[in-house]
């Protein structure tokens, strides 16, 4: 028994090993890319973060002192705080605009592809280009928004939108929503279109109201899509840099320094590459943690029903 059993097992194991090898060969190009452009740079960044590493001149091993410094760095803490604030506000704003838009363009109606195209158009503009465009729109004298408000008679004097925190922040949020909402809309649209029409019809026959159908049918069936859109939006917001650098150079009185902006400043303005590397590793850890939490939250809910 045992002998015959092992005899039949052996070739199968060998075959399994062979297919495993073949699989490895198939994914080798992808692995090579990931290793060359992600794993090695991350390891190198980690190595740099353990040094006092100026942009010019010699490096010196300092162990974990860069990481200790981080916890006493008030400017880093305020950068984290601002980034969190921005991420929450902008994500809510993007979803508040993108979801209704997705529902609007999902139904087959006249000109629907024209609507989709128009809403998606800002997405293909680069973020830096969009930021520059909005710097002009928000310019107090030669721009559009301020002078237009004045021409309409809503304000006595053209306001300098980028001069105070609240108005500058609002301008940036509006710009980012204008720029990104189309992309989120497309993702949500694919989720909406994946819901079988029979289900909605059945719910309607059962007498479910429009809100009930949305709450108990559409939303649960879109969990995966929402998770994807959410992770893309949150990750993108945490890594925000261009808009603050270009539109407000860090904002009135440095109140718009995001984490990436701070890392840039430390590395290439103050030339502390080592400290910048340590901050990058910390940011990577934060991003990984947030993504895991998001995935975990949405997966648990999915298995409930």
């Amino acid at each position: 028994m045992t002998v015959s059993g092992s005899k039949t097992l052996l070739p199968r194991r060998r075959r399994a090993r062979r297919t495993g090898l073949r699989g490895l060969v198939y994914i080798a190009p992808a692995m090579a890319l990931v290793i060359a452009f992600f794993i090695i740079p991350v390891i190198f960044t980690g190595w740099m973060s353990l040094h006092n590493w100026p942009l010019m001149g010699g490096t010196r091993w300092i162990g974990f002192r860069n990481y200790v410094r981080m916890f006493h760095d008030a400017r880093f803490m305020s950068a984290l705080q601002f980034t969190a604030y921005y991420t929450v506000i902008v994500t809510i704003a993007i979803f508040a605009v993108a979801f209704p838009l997705a529902i609007f363009v999902e139904k087959q109606r006249r000109f629907v592809s024209a609507y989709r195209t128009i809403i998606f158009l800002p997405v293909v503009v680069g973020l830096a280009t969009a930021s520059l465009l909005w710097v002009w729109l928000a310019n107090v004298d030669s721009g559009f928004i301020g002078p237009a408000l004045k021409a309409l008679g809503w304000v006595d004097k053209s306001p300098n939108l980028l001069a105070t925190f609240d108005s500058a922040f609002l301008t940036i949020i509006v710009m980012v929503v204008w720029k990104i909402a189309g992309f989120t809309m497309i993702i949500l649209l694919t989720g909406l279109q994946a819901i079988p029409a029979e289900l909605t019809e059945a719910a309607r026959i059962d007498g479910a109201s429009r809100w009930q159908r949305f709450r108990h049918l559409t939303l649960p069936l879109m969990r995966k899509t929402i998770a994807l859109a959410l992770i893309i939006s949150v990750t993108g917001s945490i890594l925000a840099f261009d808009q603050f650098y270009i539109m407000t150079s860090g904002g009135p009185q440095n109140r718009m320094i995001s984490v990436v902006y701070y890392i840039f400043n430390q590395s290439f303005v103050s030339f502390n590459l080592g400290y910048g590397a340590a901050l990058s590793i910390a940011l990577l850890a934060i991003l990984v943690a947030i993504s895991i939490i998001q995935l975990w939250l949405l997966r648990v809910r999915e298995e409930k029903p």
């Binding site: 942009l55 107090v140 004298d141 300098n160 980028l162 009135p252 440095n254 303005v269 030339f271």
Partner: protein
């Protein structure tokens, strides 16, 4: 016929190849916002010399980090026009070519601007030589003065007078303003035009040894009040609050009554905006006296460049009388003391005010100039914006004072 044509073209091609290999092209970077003096000198040099200089303009606020990253990446230009306050840091990092022996062999070495040479020296060796000299001065628009019923030939001597004049000019109409400054976190603009108010009154923002921040003085409070008052009275365009230096030369649009500028701007105004009728004088201190910021650029050479001979030839041209004359015409004050008078002869007399300013001018000496002052996110840049436009002046003073001190301490 065809044969002859072929021969002619091949000879021409040969000539092209020959001249291309003979002419070395020196790559050189220069910062923006310093007027046209250097650009015109390069043009004149290229049209009269075989070896050529290729000039690249880099935004002034990013030149330091771009140059440092280029050095680290092995892509640095052969030479650079470097804001002289950064010269010590780069020389200390061992990234610049030692020019000592060649510099000392120049017959006019001893008459080169001494403060530039001092900032270009490190441990007794010379790594930077003067390229351009600039001081900050106060300019007023004579046409607007006349329209406002003021005496266009009388230079204002105090900030009370400047404020009163600004009010009269503002009364002229909608988009005519009495005063302008780049207050949106432009540390470089503000150290250049605003600190003279404090220096003129005898105070300073750093202690003499550079080891303590001395921001919160009665003189600085007074200076901030002067600017705050003008902003509150709507004498300054609203755009000033977010101008990070891009519109520093707003005076050239002819709708600004008064502004503190640099000698480079005098050159640009004279040569490119001849329609603007303006006068210049020294910047009054907040509580009396006058002062100015003495700045400018040093010419530095990247260590190990193979084109050192061509670079030296170009620099010798800059120091020649022709070169100095072109530089001065566009607002860069002469760097060679021995021929300064000859160079300025026949040029705009207003440049003389820029020269007079040197006597009362200061330059802060610190290795952390970028972190403290020039960086758009440094304490000085945010202080000027918060104190002049913000609601909490005391808070702005306290924050900037402690942040500057902590940057100084971390660099010791």
């Amino acid at each position: 016929m065809i044969k002859r044509l072929l021969a002619a073209t091949s000879v021409a091609t040969l000539c092209l190849v020959a001249s291309a290999s003979a002419a070395e092209k020196v790559e050189m970077w220069v910062r923006t916002g310093v007027g046209d003096a250097f650009k015109k000198t390069v043009e004149a040099y290229n049209s009269s010399h075989e070896s050529q200089v290729a000039m690249t303009e880099v935004p002034f606020s990013e030149l330091v980090q771009k140059y440092a990253t280029a050095i680290a990446g092995g892509q640095a230009p052969d030479a650079l026009s470097m804001d002289l306050i950064y010269n010590p840091a780069f020389a200390a990092a061992g990234q610049l070519e030692d020019l000592t022996d060649w510099a000392k062999s120049l017959p006019y070495f001893n008459s080169l601007s001494p403060s530039h040479v001092k900032l270009g020296s490190y441990h007794g060796r010379i790594y930077g030589l003067p390229l351009s000299v600039e001081t900050s001065v106060f300019a007023w628009n004579k046409d607007l003065y006349k329209k406002a019923g003021l005496n266009p030939e009388k230079a204002p001597a105090s900030w009370d007078e400047i404020t009163a004049n600004a009010e009269k000019i503002r009364a002229l109409g909608d988009d005519t303003y009495g005063f302008y400054f780049s207050g949106g976190g432009c540390g470089g603009c503000m150290i250049f035009t605003f600190t003279p108010l404090v220096w003129g009154s005898g105070a300073d923002i750093l202690s003499a040894d550079g080891k303590a921040a001395t921001l919160d003085t009665p003189e600085m409070r007074q200076a901030i009040n002067i600017y705050r008052n003008m902003v509150k009275k709507d004498l300054v365009p609203a755009g000033a609050a977010s101008d990070n230096g891009v519109n520093f030369l707003s005076f050239t649009n002819g709708k600004i009554g008064q502004q503190s500028l640099g000698a480079f701007a005098i050159g640009s105004l004279v040569t490119e905006h001849p329609d603007i009728n303006f006068g210049v004088t020294l910047i009054p201190g907040a509580t009396g006296g006058t002062s100015s910021f003495a700045g400018g650029d040093n010419f530095v050479v990247t260590k190990g460049t193979p084109k050192i001979a061509a670079v030296k030839k170009f620099l010798e041209y800059i120091y020649s009388e022709d070169g100095q004359k072109i530089m001065a015409k566009y607002g860069s004050l002469p760097t060679r003391g021995d021929i300064a008078e000859k160079v300025l002869q026949g040029l705009d007399p207003r440049l003389q005010v820029g020269i007079d300013a040197i006597a009362v001018a200061k330059t802060p000496y610190t290795l952390q100039f970028n972190d403290l002052i020039n960086s758009a996110n440094g304490p000085w840049a945010s202080f000027t914006n918060a104190a002049i436009f913000g609601d909490d002046v005391d808070g702005a003073f306290a924050n900037a004072q402690s942040e500057m001190q902590s940057i100084i301490d971390s660099g010791q």
